[in-house]
């Protein structure tokens, strides 16, 4: 049943989009990890969803409807942009298929990420904060920290690996 065209449409759309946005963004970032690119796709998806909102059948979950648009906009982006190396279409499909079944790890991230961040070294946490929270580039962090850009990348990448190991350990601990 199509959503009635009413003054409440904007509010209704906003609420549904807010609820679904984290899952949509997660899905986009699997194929397009770069945050600015993923946000650009999210914007395009939001516009497409709003334009087609009168075709949305409210008896069905909004997220399922929205995910179709997310995939289309992601493919469009990948077809027109070549700034960064991309995964193959087959690989992205395989990942998307697997994402349809959330794992224990997915649920555990929200519970344990804070604890695991606290276990990182101060230097690593400072870089994670600069890179993700302050939106600084590795170049800018390199200047601030007096280290090479390569060293900044390596520390951030190693820290993410440590976070993954820590979350997996927390899951095992919770099971025993």
């Amino acid at each position: 049943m199509p959503v009635a065209d009413s003054e409440d449409n904007h509010e209704h759309f906003t609420r549904l989009l807010l609820e679904s946005e984290p899952a949509m963004l997660r899905s986009i970032q699997v194929a397009v990890p770069h945050r600015a690119d993923a946000r650009e796709i999210m914007q395009e998806t939001a516009v497409a969803l709003w334009r087609q909102f009168d075709t949305y059948d409210s008896s069905r979950p909004f997220i399922n409807w929205a995910m179709g648009f997310t995939r289309i906009e992601t493919r469009r982006f990948l077809a027109r942009e070549s700034r960064r190396a991309q995964l193959s279409e087959k690989a992205i499909e395989a990942l998307e298929l697997e994402m349809e079944h959330p794992t224990e790890f997915d649920h555990a991230i929200e519970s344990h990420l804070g604890t695991c961040l606290g276990k990182l070294s101060e230097k690593s946490r400072r870089l994670i904060k600069g890179y993700y929270h302050e939106g600084r580039s590795p170049e800018s962090l390199s200047k601030r920290e007096g280290r090479t850009v390569e060293a900044i990348y390596k520390t951030i990448q190693r820290s993410r690996g440590e976070l993954q190991t820590c979350i997996e350990r927390q899951i095992r601990k919770a099971q025993t």
Partner: protein, 317 residues
């Protein structure tokens, strides 16, 4: 057996946009066929995404919590709010946030072999390179420092080995094949124009010869040629006059001054088949004998190609 056994490292590189096309291709194949790699990729991507979603507000100046301490994290939704605010502004006619599509430029990294010097240690081979993908030149060495490897310029020389030739600079070169890049981007028939940017980070520490070298500077240089790779060294330096394009950027640092990244750029002409890139230290002191250096370092050499639409007005940096 694959050439990329360390999938975790490659996954992490890919998430930061650092993987090459070849690496992304290998990772893709592994994701398609290897459930463990697929699962690891999804976990890493989830952490990458979650960190980007969060507002981490723990106090970095205080002692990090080690046991039960948990940084306070608020799960903010700045993106969704921005998206929705933008959507309504754009779609309801109040503004044109998305309607304006400025002509976009595209950037792509061109592979510089061992550009971060992490794949070697010790002296750099002497003499002009005759093939693609290797650093060589005047006396310089890769050293390990603080877990990273960087190039140190040791002394000036005459790279051609010519007796009594000028030896006022220390140059380290690499030849880069541009043919596949030119084909891939079809530069000859494209309506776009292309620029190559060579950047490197220079640093200077105190050295015993500092007082004798008041004008010493670091620089990076890019030359484009339509030539065979082994022909450049044979005709050096006269061949410079045949370069299709040249870009150069220099920086003069004081001993102990904070390191600086500099960028040299030049137009990528369609006929260029190779790039000769170099990082250099020039004493600006006429000499035919080697001059000891030792205080100048360079790291993180990157080459980028930028494609921009041909516009009535070009953006000039």
């Amino acid at each position: 057996m694959s050439d990329f056994p360390d999938w975790q490292t490659l996954i992490q590189k890919h998430l930061d946009g650092q993987s090459t096309d070849e690496e992304a291709g290998a990772l893709s194949k592994e994701i398609e066929t290897n459930a463990k790699v697929r699962s690891d990729y999804l976990k890493a991507a989830r952490i990458h995404g979650a960190l980007g979603d969060e507002v981490i507000s723990f106090d970095l100046e205080s002692t990090p919590p080690r046991s039960s301490g948990t940084p306070s994290i608020s799960w903010a939704k700045p993106l969704a709010a921005a998206v929705i605010a933008g959507a309504f502004v754009g779609l309801l006619g109040v503004g044109v946030v998305w309607a304006i599509n400025s002509p976009k430029s595209e950037e792509r990294m061109v592979s510089v072999s061992n550009g971060n010097f992490e794949d070697s240690l010790g002296p750099v081979p002497l003499g002009f390179p005759s093939g693609f993908g290797n650093w060589s030149g005047d006396p310089a060495e890769v050293i390990a420092e603080d877990g990273n490897r960087i190039l140190r310029f040791l002394e000036t020389a005459n790279v051609t080995g010519k007796p009594n030739g000028g030896a006022s600079a220390c140059n380290v070169f690499q030849l880069i094949d541009l043919t596949s890049l030119q084909q891939q981007w079809d530069t000859e028939n494209s309506d776009n124009h292309f620029t190559l940017e060579l950047s490197a980070r220079f640093r200077r520490e105190s050295a015993p010869t500092d007082a004798e070298l008041p004008k010493i500077s670091g620089s990076c240089t890019i030359h484009l040629y339509q030539a065979a790779p082994d022909s450049i060294g044979k005709a050096w330096p006269q061949v410079i006059s045949e370069a299709v394009a040249i870009g150069n950027k220099a920086v003069r640092l004081e001993p102990g001054e904070e390191g600086k990244r500099i960028t040299a750029s030049c137009i990528l002409e369609p006929e260029a088949t190779l790039a000769l890139i170099s990082v250099n230290v020039n004493t600006k002191k006429p000499s035919t004998t080697p001059i000891k250096l030792g205080g100048y370092f360079v790291d993180d050499v990157q080459l980028t190609v930028i494609r921009q639409p041909n516009l009535p007005v070009r953006v000039v940096k």
